[in-house]
Each structure stands twice: as C-alpha cells, then as structure tokens.
Symmetry: C2
Subunit: 334 residues, 2 copies
C-alpha cells in the first residue's frame, strides 16, 4: 500500500514526521511512503535512521503553506508546496492516502479543489475521534462545513458508519444526531429534518445525542454540523485541560496529597494515555476521492505512526470504495 | 426582599427545597419566602425545622407539572400548579424572584407567557454558570432559543454582562462570542453578523471564543445560541463525568494507586467541590420582567441555599431594572 506524507506540515516537522514514517514502515512491511518537502532537509533527517530506502520516495518541493495563511488562496498560489504536491500525487494515484499535520483549512480546501468530492457526495466532512467512557466515537463533521443542509448530515451519518466499521472494526456502529433534547421532535428545523432523513439511511440510527451523550459511550458516530462539531471538539480539549489543571493544583496543595499523587502516578499516566490524541491517529476528510488525513498540528513521531496505522486500515477496508458505492444508493434532495 | 419558591419541583422536592429555604432564611435576615405547593405536605416538612414562621408564607396549590410534560400545554392547563401559581405571584409583585427546580421547558414557557418579556428584549435567555480555570463564566443562552437572530445574541451579551457585574461582582466582564475560529470573519452568517452587532453594544467584547476558550478563564460571558449552548452545557457535564470515571478506574487498578488515591483524597474532594453545581446557584432566565431562576433538577438543600444567595444578589443588584434601562438604549433591527 502506498501513502503520501507531507514532511513539512505541523509544529514538529520535518523531524517528528520523518521519524514517525520510519517507525510506520517497520510496522507495515507492505507500506511504501512518498514524502513531499525539501529533499535536502528530508534526506538529512532520514540519514539519522536505520531504514529501508527502497520503500521511501522523496518528491522535492520548494514551498510550505503556513498555518495562518488563507486556505483557498494558499492552495491556488503555492503550487509547489508540500501540501499541494502531495494532494496532486494522491489525485494521480501515486498513493491511496495523503497525510498532513499542516493547516486544517488548507488540507480541506486542497482536498476539495484538487482531489475532488466523490460523485453524489454533497460535502466532504472532517471526522476526528473522541475518547468516550467505553472507547472511542467518531465526530463528523468537526469543521469542514460550518453551515449544512439536512441531507449533508444524513450523508455524514453514512460515511461515519462506514469508517467506524471498516477502520475501527465496530459492527453496526450506533449513530447519534447531536441535538438539544432526545425526542425526535426536539431541536432546530435542521435537526428535525435531518432526523427524518437519517432514519431512511442504511445506518444503525439510535436517535438524538444530547451534549451529555457525546462521550458517554452510547454512540459510535456523532453526527453534527461543522460549527457545532468544531465547538464540541475544541471544548473537549479545553475542558479536559482545565479539569486536569484544577486537579493538579489541588494535588499540590499539601504534603499528604503530594505523596498520594506520587503513589498514584501510574494511574495518572494510564489515564493520560487513554486521553492521548497521539494514540488515535488523525481526522479523516471523508467524501473525497482518496484518503486525506489531517494529523494534529502538534503531532510527534508516535502520532504520525498511529496515523499510518489508521491509513493502513483505511486502505485495507477500502473506505473510499465503500462510500462511493453506498452513497449512490440513496438519493437525497433538500 | 421577597422570594417565591416552587416547593414541588425537582427530584428531591419538597424535602430538599424546604430544608434549603430554612437555611436561606438564616443566611439572609431580611428575606421572606413564599412557598407554592401542597400546604399540608409543606407544613409537615417545615415542622421538622427550627424556623421563623413569620418569614415563610405558604400558598396552597393542587397540581404539579412533570418533567416530561409538553411545556406550553402544561403551563396553559395546570393553572393551579406550584409553577404557574409561583409565576403569577412573581407577576403580581408578591416577590422579586421565583425559583424552581422543576421542568426547564415549563419554567421558560411559563416565564414568557405569564411574567412576560421586558420591553425591547427580543428573547429571554437561560444563563447558567460554568466552572473555568480561574473562576466562573456565564453561558448565555443554554436552551431558551434553539434558533436565534444576530440581534438576540447582541442582547444576550448585554444581559449577561449586567448579570456578571451585578451578581458576581465582575467589573467590566469580558464577553466572548462562541465561534469556530478566533478571527472576526470566521463562522456562519449568524456569528459574523452577531460579531458586528456585539461590537456596537456597551459591553467589553473580547472577540470570538473558540471551543477551547469556553472554560479557559479568558471570558466571563460566553454568548451563543440556545442550541449550541445546550450542547456545551450538557457536554461539559458529560465529559467531566466521563473523565472522572476513567480516572477512578485507573486509580483502582493497583494497591499502590489505591493507597495514593486515599492519601490524595482531600485534593479530590476540593476538586469535586470546585466543580460542584450546588455551590453555583441556578440558571437565570434573563430578559423577563422579574427574576426567574431554574435550579438544577437534582438540587439538594445546599443547592437551594446557593440559589437563594444568588437571588439575594440579583435583587440587591437590581438586575431587572438595569436590563430594562440598558436594553432600550440600543435599537437593533435584523
């Protein structure tokens, strides 16, 4: 299987990206990686690792898209950036998945402009994993579409279900629609209409998910618009950070609690691990004609390694082929 | 000051409600409470407590609105319910604040139908407190208006600011608009338009609040529509519960971590206290012609006591008068 990786995107590029790729190649003996970026820099980094050079290809690029650049403009202007060249390689079939830890906006715009939507997909959606009480749930969309129609949400439910089944191995994933109440008639015009459409989709729709159900473990696929999803995703990160900050402060408040915290350290470490995004892989942009994975901007080598594992499952499960096939079966007009 | 309390609303009514009122009367020597509900039941409960009977008044009612009843219908039909009678007493000036731990929907509908909006207020909004890294923030709206116009959000910013200044004693409260990015041009048509309107309001507008900023302590007033606010509020509760569940599981995993957790117990208790809604009081419905407080459905006596403290501040700060005065100064048309 062939994967393309943007060597220049993210806070820790290119070092962590390249280290992660070397680890990934060891995990997956049938994987081949094409790195896009400054060949000189990449070769110098690679020289530091024991690796099978025949399984790594470098495509030299001369530009990098910054996190802060306006996305569409950056994609249009920086034709020789590691992101644009990588997406073009994906389009040309030089790999099945493109991974970047660079700008989320540029990755979404670039995927839409270069790789293109799959036929009959109304809008691609960005889908990260959230930790839940019992495992993980896929949040779809978390920011590709701030404003949506009900039919988009219905398609998100289908694409998210296919992903959870094929990549995470969840049989018959339980789909929930984010709403401000559990009853079918609750919510905005949008959610009421989406409820009816999702009921008709070939997914295991389990009804509305209130805020309190998002990480309860009752749902495997959490469907929402990109505005609400973005708020949920970032609030999850922010609240987890705030709670840990508050708890740490209390634990440091006396000698007794300090000793207690030191003894309990293995538990805190395991807890932290279960919350650790570097174990989860990146967020998939579902609905485009290829695999596009947005890894966390602060990805370290371990996170890139997890993302490569995710890419391998994505390719093995033929998620793109499945979406293409299933999405055409149901015509949605609104 | 005179407060009206629904003795029959909430999971722990009437016992916890009445116990909380007895405690509140001791905290506030100038407070008088009117309880609505079954006089027989209330008198029997009151008999168990040492209290100044001259400062408690009981208005007998024969009906109770259930949590699950359709709100508007319940308000219209159950004329002799503890909720409807309490709201009518508020309207008639028999008290300045009405507190209920009963159905949120019924409290909102009842307040709007019976107590009525203040002149020039476009929509009342429900505003609970969230714990933050450094203190508390007011979330407005959390569910009274699933669909809003930009002008509603601008008024929420003003009403929330007045509340935080008068009740919580925060000078020049920092207002943030929930959005999927920090830049002014980010978001939906609604948030872009609201951004421009809030800039014109007499509030300390500090720009967009991304999900990660909601509990960071950077904002005192978090402005959003009732749909997003409801998801944020319930996700906050759900995520905090899930994280604590995961941490507890890890702490129980070995003898060492169990001993550590036992030693660290005072820290966990203090942490829990800082997250404890019973310390915070209830959610205010701002924008109606009187104080309407929705206490948590599972309120215990301590929560009711906190809510009475909040009511006293609300009355002392003349929040209703301030909103009435300030809201008329800026005309918003959209």
């Amino acid at each position: 299987m062939k994967v393309i990786v943007d060597a220049m995107g993210g806070d820790n590029a290119p070092g962590a990206i390249i280290e992660g790729c070397v680890l990934g190649l060891k995990d997956h003996p049938d994987m081949h990686i094409t790195l896009t970026g400054s060949e000189e820099v990449i070769r110098a980094e690679l020289a530091g690792y024991d690796h099978d050079a025949s399984r790594i290809n470098v495509v030299n690029t001369t530009e990098v898209i910054d996190m802060a650049e306006p996305a569409v403009e950056a994609i249009r202007k920086k034709k020789d950036s590691s992101m644009v060249v990588g997406l073009n390689l994906l389009k040309q079939g030089e790999g099945s998945v493109f991974i970047t830890a660079g700008s989320t906006g540029a990755a979404i715009s670039g995927a839409t402009l270069i790789v293109r939507r799959l036929k009959n997909v109304k809008r691609p959606a960005l889908a990260p994993m959230l930790p839940t009480r019992t495992g993980r749930a896929l949040l779809i969309d978390c920011g590709a579409n701030a404003e949506v129609r009900a039919s988009f949400l219905a398609q998100f439910a289908l694409m998210g279900s296919i992903y959870m089944e094929k990549v995470e191995g969840i049989k018959n994933p339980r789909v929930g629609l984010v709403n401000n109440g559990t009853e079918a008639e609750k919510g905005t015009d949008l959610t009421k209409q989406a409820y009816k459409l999702i009921e008709k989709m070939p997914v295991n729709f389990c009804g509305n998910a209130e805020g309190r159900d998002i990480v309860s473990g009752e749902f495997d696929v959490i469907v929402t618009d990109g505005f609400t999803g973005n708020v949920i995703l970032k609030h999850t990160e922010g609240l987890a950070g705030t709670l840990m900050h508050m708890l740490k402060k209390e634990l440091k408040s006396s000698l007794r609690t300090k000793i207690g915290a030191a003894l309990a350290m293995p538990a805190f470490k395991n807890f932290k691990k279960s919350m650790d995004y570097t174990e989860y892989g990146g967020a998939l942009l579902l609905g485009v004609n290829g695999g596009v994975v947005k890894a966390h901007g602060s990805s370290n080598a371990k996170a890139i390694r997890s993302t490569l594992r995710q890419a391998a499952e994505f390719i093995g499960g033929d998620v793109v082929g499945m979406i293409k096939k299933e999405i055409s079966r149901i015509s949605l007009d609104d």
